[in-house]
Symmetry: C2
Subunit: 171 residues, 2 copies
């Protein structure tokens, strides 16, 4: 029975598990935002007051059940504007020195995966109304997770090259 | 000149940009952790005291420059044990009711992308020594970003079905 098949959660055996050379995903939705080009996109969602809409494709609607009770979501998406290969070091917006791309939040990364925490204000059918948007219009969305402070908040003063730079330019 | 090519950051023009049916990534590293099977993997990094090692592949070593000055990293990885398709709703570890998979943190998601915030204790060559590990041994790593409280911390009491369940079972 088809229903039984898709409600079963299967995992690979250790023998089936081989290290992949490539991992492919299918977008689960698309971003609708005021940002039609990279110019003017806020550098981080925490400093954005812009609103947007994440359209989850209808076949995934059931996966949204009870998400509306969360205040924030983690949105994982593809920086589809980036052309590979990228340089492994570059100057971030907030600094004049080059750093490794794993030490900065640039879209220009070996795997151009974006990560934004967005304020969720409403879900209507399969559309998520969000605030604090820093994502380009028409961006392919890969995953949505509920933001849970107990899981996702860490306290640290160790913020590397950003030390002393955030307050100056952002707030 | 090759060097010039790879230090140039190129973006697609709006005409070149078409919505993808599939997005493929190459692992940038591999997780070495004490968890050889899904049994015993902590449900969240925030409750794990286990140590591990992220081996970044040597060709990406330059991308690690200055990451060692950060206290925590965001690690994005592939739950490669998951066989698709998955059910769109399921019962999470902390509850007896079914919720949409976008409202829970299960590995069984349409795109099995994992997200953990790990404590970074040391970088030796291209190996990241980390704590709070909740990632299975041999997991393919897709991206590493610096964790920055100013960007990544949100305050909210709206934690949906997790309300009242976290303290009870986790701490």
């Amino acid at each position: 029975m088809r229903i039984m098949e898709i409600t079963k959660r299967e995992i690979k055996t250790l023998e089936e598990r081989t290290f992949p050379s490539e991992i492919c995903f299918k977008p689960i939705g698309i971003m609708h935002s005021p940002f039609k080009s990279l110019k003017g996109v806020p550098i981080q969602p925490s400093v954005s007051e812009d609103k947007g809409l994440i359209e989850i494709f209808p076949q995934y609607k059931l996966a949204l059940k009870d998400l509306d009770k969360f205040g924030f979501i983690i949105c994982i998406f593809h920086f589809d504007m980036v052309k590979l290969p990228i340089p492994l070091q570059s100057k971030p917006f907030l600094d004049d020195e080059e750093h490794g791309v794993f030490a900065i939040r640039t879209p220009f990364r070996p795997n151009p995966i974006g990560f934004s925490i967005l304020k969720l204000t409403q879900i209507i059918e399969h559309e998520l109304h969000v605030e604090n948007v820093d994502i380009l219009d028409n961006t392919p969305i890969l995953d949505i997770k509920p933001y849970v402070p107990h899981f996702d908040v860490r306290e640290t003063e160790k913020i590397g090259w950003l030390q002393g730079k955030i307050k100056k330019k952002l707030s």
